[in-house]
């Protein structure tokens, strides 16, 4: 009666490859056939063999038989979900995920979870469990299969509300059929072994009629048989056994807009299943096409079809082109509701395909029962009454014009005036309105102007001809113009969408900083979706851009430790912040890389909807963030296909822009780290040299004085003492420089702003420099009346001191130094010039780098190599610039100029 659990090599391979848990379905034709008992019995066997089996949830329906079947199996406690004042005991998905059994038994795959659960449907819970690597066994009745719901409704007269997508069963690794003959089942029902007596009574009138049961049983048997067949065929193929299977069958289903889609898709799925052929779905978007294709496309994907949308004006041609391109053998389409005249003329899609598609098998699906047909929603931009009112209004206007012209032009030319009204109606409102307008116009024209007037009779043959010509021209014009108008409108809509996209791309590209980019994305999402939007990024990435520091190693994969935590980075408007409940959906969406929240399969009770942003990284595609949308009550921004498309494009572009910004930031940080590294190395070298030489001199001089001082002449002793003093001063200066440099590098330095007299500052610094180098003079040139720039006097003094010191040091004992303050337009400049050997042009760009030293051919003790680097840092901190020129006086000399805004 059941097939033993057998290893499916493909499933094993898949398991090894992606770690997805196996799924085994115990399939029955009706309640009470013993699926649950069967599942529990097999579970007990596995438990006895030492496997970690856990009962996630079993509905006993008060049946003692089922109760007993649980036996020694451990049962997961249920989760109490408060719902409308009562507590529902639901399956605890999180507990099951945390417990991680090897095999989890979960009854009733088609069950709908209590509102507020993570997933609306239990089969979605199962998907998540399998994603987590847990093998799941479950039970299901065949009437819950989505693809059979129409048939079941026809056979039993009951529409099943709880359905499971066909692909769930198709993708199951094992299907065990639990079957008993209908007569035996009915007997069990009457004995009260399935339902309580009152329920049993009701059941006997519904499902449990013998005919219904037989039909359901046949469906279950056939489904299982098809599966077995598919398994066998698959096995034969894998093992290269030649066999009689159909080659290359492919089924293409045309998704109509509107209500018909469901029945057509289900039928196509069954045909494809029966043929064991892949199912392709196509929606052709046409100018003026009616009905929203989105639900049909979603259902197609749920049914495992590969769905595509193409845009074309000629429907049959587009269908045939696609069918040939994809090597399709069968085309499934709905009967549709073509206009009567088309049917009369044979110009229907079915007719066209029948004529032109000789190499395809056509399946025309019966329309849905009238009861389930929903009226197509009006999709006109204008309200319906306005269109209806426009027809008499335009005709009346034309009539007024004609009355005004009456007597001045021949009566026959009034037709022209009416034509204008008809064409206008065709262009604005479409052919139906144009036809109505034409009829009305013709009546008015005939009644008011064609002799005999005030009758609907036409007297002369000439007028009859005129009327006929009017009719034909009006019909042709309205058709053509109407189509043209629709094309123009569709083209305009597409153009607008394109424009929005390119504007979006421009806006995202224009953002220079990460926070600006994030704000722009949220803003663009709000515009595209027409509802509040926000941007969430995983915690580690957010931290890195907030602090700019390596709190997390930048190369570590996101979520290496625990699941990534989404953090709000931007919102538009600013108060569009998801609450804690919504963040649960965000967390799930980020961890699983799938949509969550409103309108999705996960936590649909959340008002927010979260869409993952994906980007390609070295380690493969990764979810780099989430876009959150808060659709309004009307759901605007969710089901508008144009907005959907724009939003899709936005997701792609936002992901690309974010990823690019992240890479740029990483690059900048690496560069900065490299520069810091270079500075550290230079600092170490400097420590090695500049610290040791003065220390050696101090130590040596002191030691000489101590050991042989008494024997030395007075002058030598004085010189040794001077050495100690000078070297200590040099050490102190060097330390100041190092500390300045470190402070500049760490950005700790804060410049004050106060008006500074340039001439005074320069003279003071020059006087001190002259003191430090006795016998050397610094010439100062500063014109009176210089503006006083806003600077930090202490920092400026440090800059001038460094520049003068450098100039004196490098110009040699007899060199002259010129210090000058000047006004250069909007700038005040300080320049220090020496007549030393100058700097080689090749070295000029590096003079401001830390620890750069010019060649010491002049034999003057060089400084720390930090002077100019510090100057540059200080000048930049005060908002100025600094530059060096060399040579400045016939082949030698150096001039360094610092400029500040006046």
């Amino acid at each position: 009666m059941t097939e033993p659990p057998r290893p499916d090599p493909d499933a094993l391979l898949a398991l090894a490859a992606e770690g997805r848990g196996r799924l085994k379905v115990f399939l029955g034709a009706a309640p009470g056939v013993g699926k649950t008992v069967q599942m529990l019995a097999e579970g007990r066997r596995l438990l006895a063999a030492g496997t970690d089996v856990l009962v996630g949830l079993v509905e006993t329906h008060g049946r003692a038989e089922t109760e007993a079947a649980i036996g020694p199996l451990p049962v997961l406690p249920r989760r109490a979900v408060p719902y409308r004042g009562q507590a529902l005991a639901e399956f605890d998905l999180d507990a099951a995920l945390a417990r991680r059994p090897a095999v989890l038994l979960l009854d009733e795959l088609a069950h709908s979870n209590a509102p507020g659960s993570r997933h609306p449907k239990r089969w979605q819970d199962v998907e998540e469990l399998r994603d987590a690597g847990i093998e799941v066994w479950t039970t299901m009745n065949v009437q819950h299969l989505e693809g059979l719901s129409d048939t079941v409704a026809r056979v039993t007269g009951i529409r099943v509300a709880e359905t499971v997508p066909d692909r769930v069963l198709r993708e199951a690794d094992a299907v065990a059929l639990v079957d008993i003959p209908p007569a035996e089942l009915l007997e069990r029902l009457r004995q009260g072994r399935i339902y309580r007596p009152d329920q049993a009574e009701r059941a006997l009138r519904g499902f449990f009629r013998e005919g219904s049961l037989a039909a359901l049983r046949e469906m279950a048997l056939r489904r299982t048989a098809e599966r077995v067949d598919a398994d066998v065929t698959g096995w034969m193929r894998r093992n290269a056994v030649a066999g009689p299977w159909p080659v290359g069958d492919r089924v293409l289903v045309l998704i109509p807009g509107g209500a018909e889609a469901e029945a057509v898709l289900h039928h196509a799925r069954r045909i494809a299943d029966a043929l064991r052929a892949p199912l392709l779905a196509l929606h052709v978007e046409r100018p003026g096409g009616t009905g929203d294709p989105a639900p049909g496309l979603r259902l197609a994907e749920d049914l495992g079809a590969e769905a595509e949308v193409v845009a074309a004006a000629d429907l049959p041609a587009a269908v045939l082109a696609h069918a040939r391109a994809r090597n399709v053998s069968h085309i499934v389409l709905g009967r549709g509701r073509p206009a009567r005249w088309r049917r009369l003329l044979g110009r229907t899609l079915i007719g066209a395909l029948a004529r032109r598609a000789a190499d395809f098998t056509l399946h025309v699906v019966a329309g849905p029962p009238p009861a389930t047909r929903r009226p197509a929603a009006p999709r006109r931009a204008l309200p319906g009454w306005l269109g209806l009112a426009a027809v008499p209004a335009l005709v009346a206007a034309a009539t007024l014009v004609c009355l005004g012209l009456d007597g001045t032009v021949p009566d026959a030319s009034f037709g022209m005036v009416y034509l204008v009204a008809v064409v206008a109606l065709a262009a604005w409102l479409g052919p139906a309105h144009a036809a109505a307008g034409a009829a009305l116009s013709f009546a008015a024209w005939n009644f008011l102007f064609l002799p005999p007037r005030y009758t609907l009779v036409i007297a002369s043959a000439q007028d009859v001809l005129g009327a006929v010509v009017f009719g034909v021209v009006a019909a042709l014009l309205s058709g053509t113009t109407g189509r043209l108008g629709r094309s123009v409108r569709a083209a305009a809509a597409r153009l607008a969408a394109l424009r929005r996209l390119s504007a979006l791309a421009r806006r995202l590209n224009a953002q220079s900083s990460m926070p600006e980019l994030q704000g722009a994305i949220a803003e663009a999402a709000r515009q595209a979706a027409g509802c509040p939007a926000c941007l969430l990024l995983p915690l580690d990435a957010a931290l890195q851009s907030v602090f700019g520091a390596d709190l997390a190693p930048p190369d570590a994969p996101p979520g290496a430790s625990g699941p990534p935590e989404p953090v709000l980075r931007a919102a538009s408007p600013a108060d569009a912040v998801p609450d804690e409940a919504a963040m649960a959906a965000a967390r799930w969406a980020l961890a699983n890389g799938r949509e969550a929240g409103r309108g999705t399969a996960t936590l649909p009770a959340t008002p927010w909807r979260f869409l993952p942003l994906r980007a390609a990284r070295e380690e493969g595609e990764a979810v780099i963030g989430l876009l959150g949308l808060l659709p309004g009550q009307a759901g605007r921004g969710m089901d508008d296909p144009e907005a959907d498309r724009t939003l899709d494009a936005l997701l792609d572009q936002a992901a690309v822009a974010l990823e690019r910004a992240r890479l740029a930031e990483l690059g900048a940080r690496r560069r900065a780290r490299g520069e810091a590294e270079a500075l550290r190395t230079a600092l170490l070298t400097s420590l090695g040299h500049d610290l040791r030489t003065p220390l050696t001199a101090i130590r040596g001089a002191a030691e000489t004085l101590r050991t042989v001082g008494a024997a030395l002449p007075e002058a030598t002793r004085a010189d040794l003492l001077a050495t100690v003093e000078e070297e200590a001063t040099r050490l102190a200066r060097w330390m100041t420089a190092i500390i300045d440099m470190v402070r500049l590098e760490s950005g700790e330095l804060q410049a004050r702003r106060e008006p500074v007299d340039p001439a005074g500052a320069l003279r003071e610094a020059a006087a001190r420099a002259g003191h430090a180098y006795p016998g050397r003079a610094v010439r100062v040139a500063a014109p009176p009346g210089l503006p006083a720039p806003m600077l930090d006097p202490v920092l400026l003094d440090r800059v001038l001191e460094n520049l003068l010191d450098n100039a004196l040091k490098y110009s040699g004992p007899s060199g002259t130094v010129l210090a000058e303050a000047r006004r250069e337009g909007a700038w005040v400049s300080f320049s220090v010039e020496d007549d030393g050997p100058g700097i080689p042009p090749a070295a000029l760009p590096q003079v401001f780098a830390p620890f750069f030293r010019a060649a010491r051919a002049d034999r003057v003790a060089a400084g720390s190599g930090l002077g100019l680097a510090i100057c540059r840092g200080l000048v930049t901190a005060m908002g100025g610039t600094i530059a060096a020129e060399s040579p400045v006086r016939d082949g030698h000399g150096t001039r360094v100029t610092a400029r500040f805004p006046a």
Partner: protein, 248 residues
């Protein structure tokens, strides 16, 4: 201040403050200090004046220290003590392999520097005589008869241990780089296998007993066999005392 003419010590360093204190200190120790601030100047003075010892700074502006050493070695076997602010072992090893006799790190103590100068000058004197038997402390190494004694007792050494001791003894007082020892004793292929040396030096120290302290490790550079002349110039002896080495 005894002796006919004071020995010349040539100081090659580009930092004037070093000369300012080394000049008086060397003069007070009985040497004649000679000052050079570039390598070229130093080479010229070394050729012209025939110094007893050269102090060479490795960070010279006009020439790489190693190159200066090579040029000096082309015409003179004068003992060279390398002075460098850079305490990078690789540089010291390179200088020693290029022909330097010893090294001191900045900042160095004056007494230590003077002791090194004395040891280097003494070694130079001995090298001229090509003594077959080295005596240092209680250790006696007879290079001709391949015999080592500590306080008169003969040591039993393996061939490798003997080669190691002999190499150090030939350059007693001088740092011999690990690389040189490895290349000479174990061959070119093993010049990076410093663990061989550690093992053999350890064994040798044990066999040397009380003379083991003479076998010094210069971390990261090599080994040195101290040259003690009856213990007279060890430690912090006054630089003024006994400026002239007494030949052993």
């Amino acid at each position: 201040m005894s002796g006919p003419a004071p020995e010349i010590v040539l100081v090659v360093d580009d930092e004037p403050q070093i000369h300012r204190f080394l000049g008086p200190a060397l003069a007070a120790a009985g040497y004649e200090p000679l000052r050079a601030e570039t390598a070229r100047e130093g080479l010229r003075l070394a050729a012209a004046r025939g110094p007893a010892c050269v102090l060479l700074d490795l960070g010279l502006p006009d020439m790489d220290g190693k190159e200066a050493l090579a040029r000096l070695r082309a015409f003179s076997a004068v003992p060279v003590i390398v002075v460098s602010a850079r305490d990078r072992e690789a540089e010291k090893v390179a200088a020693l392999d290029a022909g330097a006799d010893d090294y001191v790190d900045k900042p160095f103590g004056l007494a230590e520097l003077l002791a090194r100068i004395r040891a280097a000058a003494r070694r130079a004197l001995r090298a001229g005589k090509a003594e077959p038997v080295l005596r240092t402390g209680p250790l006696q190494v007879d290079l001709e008869h391949r015999l080592a004694r500590v306080a008169g007792v003969a040591l039993h050494l393996t061939p490798r241990e003997w080669e190691l001791l002999a190499m150090l003894a030939r350059d007693a007082g001088k740092v011999v780089t690990g690389q040189r020892l490895l290349t000479a004793i174990w061959g070119e292929a093993h010049k990076a296998d410093t663990q061989y040396l550690r093992v053999y030096v350890g064994q040798l120290r044990q066999k040397l007993g009380e003379a083991g302290r003479l076998l010094r490790t210069e971390p990261g550079v090599g080994y040195r066999l101290l040259a003690e002349d009856r213990g007279d110039d060890r430690g912090e002896g006054s630089p003024a005392a006994s400026p002239r080495p007494v030949p052993g």
